[in-house]
């Protein structure tokens, strides 16, 4: 791992020094580096972040129905991010992006994150995409699965400092990615209607196939507002037999730049195979850009028990972001979490989100 890390640092360093040589830099891929620095403080022994919550749930479940082995699998926690209070490198993400030739474009992103014992290197995405087929994009390689709206976001794009609880519980802190092929078809319907089929293959002792169907719709309500409705279905993803997701986004952007308001709601239902428990959850958040450089956001989340009879965990977050330029932002987040036993934990996080290199093309 150290070797990989070293070679990566060397590679990027050489890419930057080569920049002086115009002939070379003109064919270099676009390079950008995101540095996410995180400071965190929690105010209760029982405070639960996403990982903590999931573990707790499972302990409780074990108590109720002893001998249920399947739980452990669901709690695919990313212990690398189970850092306690203090200051840490949340992640350093390297992006390389370029057209390969008239037929393909390629993209690689590598993330380095901190855990108790040091740093961990992860190949987040490495894929090629077709440029030559009308209405269809073929993608092959390793990439984030299109499961709902949040899963395929890179860490620096997260609307809050941490992912929604349900995403953390189902897929860990970074989201679920795999190696496979994706077909994304833009239908000729008058609104944006995209149908995506993704197939993933992995081998760890035994062969595993996962499949995803994703259907995205976006309508222009007027020049300033859009409504987006996503539905996704996953089969055999992360040991879940079925995964269902529905996501709704309403977004308004002011004609004058620097004003926007968006409301997102996402529901997950994961159906496990017969010997383990199902998981479900809702997250809903509002993002309000009230001036060019300032954002105020609020999020509410529920994780009910699998039968939706009872709310097990709830979490409320508020975030204030000061976006100095398109390349740097400081974000402050407050969380209040109830872990299902009536006990509340509180936490404050501060994150600096900086971007070096090429101008990013923003997602909508």
């Amino acid at each position: 791992m150290k070797c990989l890390l070293l070679s990566l640092v060397f590679f990027s360093a050489s890419a930057f020094t080569l920049n002086k040589d115009v002939a070379v830099s003109k064919t270099n891929p676009d390079i950008s580096v995101n540095i996410l620095l995180l400071g965190k403080k929690t105010f209760s022994a029982e405070e639960h972040n996403g990982e903590g919550h999931a573990e707790d749930d499972h302990e409780e479940d074990h108590g109720k129905e002893s001998g249920n082995e399947g739980h452990e699998e669901h709690a695919v926690h990313d212990h690398a991010h189970n850092l306690g209070d203090g200051v840490s490198i949340q992640e350093v993400e390297f992006y390389f992006k370029s057209n390969i030739d008239p037929y393909w474009s390629g993209s690689v992103s590598v993330g380095i994150s901190q855990h108790e014992k040091g740093f961990e290197l992860d190949l987040e995405e490495a894929f090629v995409e077709s440029l030559f087929i009308p209405s269809l994009t073929i993608k092959a390689g390793k990439f984030y699965a299109l499961l709902g709206r949040h899963n395929n976001l890179h860490t620096h794009y997260y609307p809050f400092i941490d992912p929604p609880l349900i995403n953390q519980t189902l897929f860990g802190f970074h989201g679920w990615n795999g190696t496979g092929v994706s077909l994304a078809w833009l239908s000729p319907l008058p609104w944006y209607a995209e149908l995506v089929a993704q197939g993933f293959y992995s081998y760890s002792g035994e062969e595993e196939f996962s499949g995803i169907l994703f259907f995205k719709n976006l309508w222009d309500l007027n020049d300033n507002a859009t409504l987006e409705l996503n539905m996704s279905y996953g089969a055999e993803v992360n040991h879940f037999e079925h995964l269902y997701n529905a996501a709704l986004v309403w977004k308004w952007t002011g004609s004058e730049s620097g004003r926007s308001l968006a409301w997102t709601a996402e529901v997950f239902q994961a159906v496990a195979d017969s010997d383990s428990e199902d998981i479900a959850g809702i997250s809903s958040y509002i993002q309000w850009q009230f001036s060019k450089q300032w954002w105020l956001e609020g999020r509410a989340e529920y994780l009910p028990d699998a039968k939706w009879d009872d709310l097990k965990t709830q979490k409320y977050s508020a975030l204030l972001a000061f976006v100095l330029t398109e390349y740097s932002a400081i974000r402050l987040q407050y969380d209040a979490t109830e872990n299902g036993h009536g006990k509340w934990g509180h936490g404050v996080s501060i994150q600096t989100n900086m971007s070096l290199g090429t101008h990013p093309a923003h997602l909508y």
């Binding site: 920049n19 002086k20 057209n99 008239p102 474009s105 995409e129 440029l131 030559f132 087929i133 009308p134 209405s135 269809l136 994009t137 833009l186 239908s187 000729p188 319907l189 008058p190 609104w191 944006y192 209607a193 995209e194 149908l195 169907l213 259907f215 995205k216 976006l218 309508w219 222009d220 020049d223 859009t226 987006e228 539905m231 279905y233 079925h242 269902y244 952007t253 004609s255 004058e256 730049s257 620097g258 529901v267 239902q269 159906v271 199902d278 479900a280 060019k292 450089q293 009910p304 699998a306 039968k307 939706w308 330029t325 398109e326 390349y327 101008h359 093309a361 923003h362 997602l363 909508y364």
Partner: protein
């Protein structure tokens, strides 16, 4: 929460299948009729206006940016991808003006014809000489510098005409049947603008204004064309709002150079400008730098006309100021 009960959810499998098959049916029943007219998509309204001047009603043309929107800061709305998917020709300003959103739109459109290098992709900036091209490495300490030069070249009528010529040629290539129409229209447009040029030059000269302050470097090409001097920028660095210190320095500079004309693009609004207004007798003129940014600017020619008028207003302001001064002097005597 009862509507989300699990029993309900498990029917989803069948439902998803039903929805998907329904959609396939719907999609295949939509017959896409072959359109004879070319579909042209531009990133800015000024480019759209140039296309209209050259093509008249022989093409469908639409701009992604709407009048009041700053093409710097658009987000890559998927509905733009739907438009780009159908486009035969995509015309962009270039020089990274649209870097924050256009790559995602071209990518999401899945239209091989409008990829860079194809005949359906026209980068207007490739045909003009760019100003303020940074030498050597670009350092963001100096703000959001455009690495390939200032992208606001469309405000120079001569460069605008050059772009219209390239548009005419590209349209002729894609639609040879109407070549004559495009070429004649373009010649007419060129003749018209060049005639107007003479009048604009004369009017600016008569206004007596020679020194201008602007918010962003949106007017660089315009000032260069009409031999006007830029005294300073209100924003501290490209994309960086002004600090108090910067404003004080600018006020001093304006005093020293006796400049009083501030041109603001309607895209920018900043309270700091009031500080300058309090400190000095200045005329602040808000103008359209793209077609439709303000209602008056209905087409390309009227955009330029608007800027010229603004400078005339500045000139009038100076004259009034001077006559007032003289009156006061006389009164005292």
């Amino acid at each position: 929460m009862s509507f989300l009960k699990r029993e309900y959810c498990c029917n989803l499998n069948r439902k998803v299948f039903f929805i998907v098959s329904f959609l396939f049916l719907l999609v295949f029943s939509v017959t896409v009729q072959a359109e004879k007219k070319l579909n042209v998509l531009t990133t800015t309204t000024s480019l759209k206006s140039l296309v209209e001047s050259v093509a008249g009603d022989k093409v469908y043309v639409e701009s992604i940016t709407k009048g009041p929107q700053d093409p710097h800061f658009l987000s890559a709305k998927p509905s733009y991808m739907v438009k780009a998917r159908k486009a035969d020709l995509l015309i962009v300003a270039g020089l990274d003006l649209e870097v924050g959103w256009l790559p995602n739109i071209v990518h999401g459109a899945r239209n091989p014809q409008i990829q860079k290098g194809q005949s359906g992709y026209l980068d207007a900036s490739q045909f003009i000489k760019a100003l303020s091209v940074p030498k050597g490495k670009v350092d963001r300490f100096f703000g959001d510098v455009h690495p390939f030069g200032n992208p606001h070249f469309i405000l120079d009528p001569v460069r605008g005409v050059k772009v219209s010529k390239e548009i005419g040629q590209r349209l002729s290539l894609l639609d040879p049947e109407n070549k004559k129409h495009y070429m004649e229209n373009q010649k007419q447009f060129e003749k018209n603008i060049m005639e107007k040029m003479k009048a604009w030059e004369r009017r600016i000269k008569n206004s007596g204004v020679t020194k201008i302050v602007t918010y962003h470097s949106s007017f660089e090409y315009f000032l260069d064309r009409f031999n006007l001097n830029l005294v300073g920028l209100i924003e501290e660095k490209p994309g960086i709002p002004p600090s108090v210190k910067h404003i004080l320095q600018l006020i001093k500079k304006m005093k020293d150079t006796q400049s009083s004309c501030i041109l603001m693009s309607s895209f920018y609004r900043n309270d700091k400008i009031k500080k300058i207004e309090k400190a000095l007798p200045v005329r602040v003129e808000t103008v359209s730098i793209e077609v439709g940014a303000l209602k008056k600017a209905k087409n390309y020619e009227l955009v330029i006309e608007g800027v010229v008028e603004a400078i005339e207003n500045c000139g009038q302001f100076d004259k009034d100021k001077n006559t007032n001064k003289n009156k006061n002097k006389k009164g005292k005597n």
